[in-house]
């Protein structure tokens, strides 16, 4: 995905840019000088409809240089949900970094029909990998999961060079049994045994 950005002078009030439909952002990384830019809010909405936080995005500044970046932080107005500011991180090629990879659950678990409740324990999994190998997301097919079944971190397939930072036995998603199980009513006993009196054995 390619997004166009324009350099912005730092003496311009960011709120004035926001009123014009522009979102202030900064590009930075260990090996690049920080670049202050603005990106059109429309372009951002379109971009964010298709990417995840671990998708590498291309940002073209002033129709010139193209940076390959990760969206590191998105500041959103808490009430209006409009974008306030973006941090775009330019990773150093070949140098491993830690990134939160989103987990996408696909399919309806078999256990839901039996009254189970799907619990998505980890929505993101932290992984360490070179930037070019970081996957945009991890897809898990849940259709074969019955009640009590779980998907663990070690069950996920990772590309070579990608190391998940969670313990292998951690549960990513599970189908829990329903909280209250209603016992099926038993048939009325034909010859019910006499119940012993309460209070233990009678004193001799």
């Amino acid at each position: 995905m390619l997004v166009k950005a324009m350099r912005r002078p730092l003496n311009v009030n960011p709120n004035a840019l926001r009123r014009q439909g522009q979102v202030p952002a900064v590009l930075y990384g260990a090996h690049v000088e920080p670049v202050h830019v603005t990106i059109s809010e429309k372009d951002l909405l379109n971009l964010f409809d298709h990417v995840t936080r671990s998708t590498m995005v291309e940002v073209q500044v002033d129709r010139g240089e193209v940076y390959r970046v990760f969206v590191k932080e998105i500041q959103v107005d808490p009430i209006t949900e409009r974008f306030l500011h973006l941090d775009l991180y330019v990773p150093e090629p070949g140098r491993s970094l830690v990134m939160q990879v989103p987990v996408k659950l696909t399919g309806t678990p078999r256990g839901l029909k039996d009254g189970g409740v799907l619990e998505h324990v980890h929505a993101y999994i932290p992984v360490e990998a070179p930037p070019e190998k970081i996957p945009p997301f991890v897809a898990i097919d849940m259709s074969n999961l019955g009640v009590g079944d779980s998907i663990l971190v070690k069950d996920l397939a990772w590309e070579e060079g990608v190391r998940p930072l969670l313990p292998p036995d951690n549960v990513v998603a599970t189908v829990l049994a329903p909280r209250a199980v209603v016992a099926a009513p038993e048939a009325a006993p034909a010859e019910a045994a006499p119940t012993p009196p309460e209070g233990g054995e009678p004193a001799a």
Binding site: H50, V51, I74, I79, F137, R179
Partner: protein, 142 residues
């Protein structure tokens, strides 16, 4: 007797304070799939919190509910027909101070349509306008 209040406090009574500005913390849906967000400042009493919690627990059936505010502020009231003066009144109840933007409750395990209906039911139990917020997710993560 209030339903929710701190186990112990350093001082018994507090000043009323001001509720200026917006919530700078606790304004994102962090635990569940949906959150109920305050749109104006208010004191939310422990009874109101408990009423909403109960309604959410019933409405979500088997889902999960998180209460993200706690009434840690005592408010006082002078007894009826008492003359002014003679010191500050007795502690009447406990409230949580809520500013616009604050996510007060979160819940999970329901669809979006169900969440809208749950919000409609719960909104009537709160003294302020609220809005339903979904967890912030990028399009590729949904």
């Amino acid at each position: 007797m209030p339903l929710l209040f701190p186990k112990r406090t350093k001082y018994r009574k507090q000043h009323r304070g001001r509720m200026k500005g917006r919530a700078t913390r606790g304004h994102e849906v962090a635990f569940g799939d949906f959150g109920i967000q305050a749109l104006s400042p208010a004191w939310i009493t422990s009874e109101q919190i408990e009423a909403v919690r109960t309604a959410l627990a019933r409405a979500t059936h088997r889902g999960k509910v998180w209460v993200r505010i706690f009434p840690d502020k005592p408010y006082t009231k002078k007894a009826a027909e008492s003359r002014m003066g003679k010191g500050k009144g007795n502690v009447e109840d406990w409230v949580a101070v809520v500013k616009p933007g604050r996510i007060m409750f979160e819940f999970a395990g329901v669809s979006e349509d169900e969440a809208k209906e749950i919000h409609r039911r719960v909104a009537g139990k709160l003294p302020i306008p609220t809005q339903l917020r979904a967890r912030f997710q990028l399009g590729g993560e949904r």
